[in-house]
Symmetry: C2
Subunit: 236 residues, 2 copies
DNA sequence: AGCCTCGGCTTACAATGTAAGCACGAGTAC
DNA sequence: GTACTCGTGCTTACATTGTAAGCCGAGGCT
């Protein structure tokens, strides 16, 4: 052995476990991005060698899958607590739960959104079978026909996906690269893509508007639009 | 005339060029997925050594960026030809152009959709500055206020992103893994996630409905909904 | 000629995922 | 007690990746 006994980690838990690994992976992703997650770095963070993780995890894919399952897992339990008397309330609660997830874990959310789902009809970000089952069953209980419930599932999924993936991307990017600093002294505006901004007068003029963060209003407004549309389909 | 590119790697230009590399990369992604693209495999496909690519490409990131630029590039030129007399026509043309892209390149589209954009206000899948400029300028020309144009840009982006990312994922998954075959003899239904399907009666019952492919109708219906919403915002 | 530049090649290295098998400590049976 | 097993983490090893550094030959200039 080359080196001995230097415990950088306080070994918070002597014993390894799948739970522990998945939690550490999520934490790592949260503050370094999914790209930066390697089996070795994760293992080091747990005070352990890389290969030890393979006792609890099939491989990296399995680990990432476990991370997204973990995120969606405690979300469904939270959903059960919120009881409403109309389907709009249910969908609103669901939307806000998923959004909370995206906002709290902007670096991890792309995984939830873009990992190939287990079945082709499992559409991100509602990726777990139980969650989809709850979704469909709830709408059926509220009087949706089967076709209507499935259509609602599709509309709702793509609404959530588009809205939240974009929002997570923005929030994730705000944290990531620590802005290498721009020492450009010329008149080019800040940001990054100053290249062909000269040929894009509309963009340049509207840049302040474009840069505003209206995520909240946008999310609520779109949600309302989706719900309205569903309601219209229901009565028609 | 969309494709029908006759690319025989051996015969044509012995000379390398960025164009050639990017095209080959796109082709490779189209039929093997972005995951399977490595500098070495791409170089081999071009009859060349891996390091030779670096004369024309900064690195893998640059290459991928070039691929998405190439996809969006000829799209804007196509857009210029389609002239309409109302903004709905423009947005419909744009939507269908982007969708064609997603359908023709389902494995490449996730790149367009999820790569971190050059500027935070550049929302996928409308990632190029010129394209966004065209978008905004066109709406302004049609009488949108600046706020309305920007709001439309946001709604439209997230609509396209959600809808097309899901559609591309489905179409991409249909081709990918060549279905390893399941020799499970028990009564569990096919697909893959037969695990907890027993606890999901609604999903099981609706599985045929869920598995139907209604991408076309879904896309058109959602598009109409978005346009209606924009029209309502306009007049209000 | 000599020389220079350019385009592709060779070599090399560090980081990654992971297969195979080792080491050691705690039960448990005798 | 000893021996045997087994779970758990470690060591080693290898193939694959992106890419930095430098080589080398061919064609065009002066």
């Amino acid at each position: 052995m080359a080196e001995h006994g230097e415990r950088t980690e306080h070994t918070p838990t002597r014993r390894l476990s799948r739970q522990l690994i998945v939690d550490a992976a999520l934490a790592h992703i949260d503050d370094s991005g999914a790209q930066a997650l390697s089996m070795r770095s994760l293992a080091q963070e747990l005070g352990v060698e890389a290969m030890s993780l393979y006792r609890y995890v099939e491989g990296k894919d399995d680990l990432l899958e476990a991370v997204v399952d973990r995120l969606l897992g405690d979300m469904r339990s939270r959903l059960d607590e919120e009881l409403t008397e109309h389907w709009q309330g249910f969908l609103q609660a669901l939307a806000h739960e998923v959004r909370r997830l995206a906002v709290e874990h902007p670096r991890a959310f792309p995984l939830v959104a873009t990992r190939p789902p287990a079945a082709p009809w499992l559409r991100p970000p509602l990726r777990s079978i139980e969650l989809v089952d709850t979704f469909l069953q709830t709408l059926l209980d509220f009087g949706f026909t089967e076709e209507q419930a499935v259509r609602a599932y599709r509309s709702f999924s793509s609404y959530l996906l588009g809205q939240l993936l974009l929002e997570a991307a923005v929030r994730g990017a705000e944290i990531s690269p620590a802005e290498p600093l721009d020492d450009e002294g010329d008149g080019a505006p800040a940001g990054d893509a100053a290249e062909s901004l000269a040929d894009a007068p509309a963009v340049r003029r509207l840049q302040p508007l474009l840069s505003e963060d209206r995520s909240d209003q946008e999310f609520e407004a779109s949600l309302e639009a989706v719900l309205d549309r569903l309601a219209r389909e229901l009565s028609q």
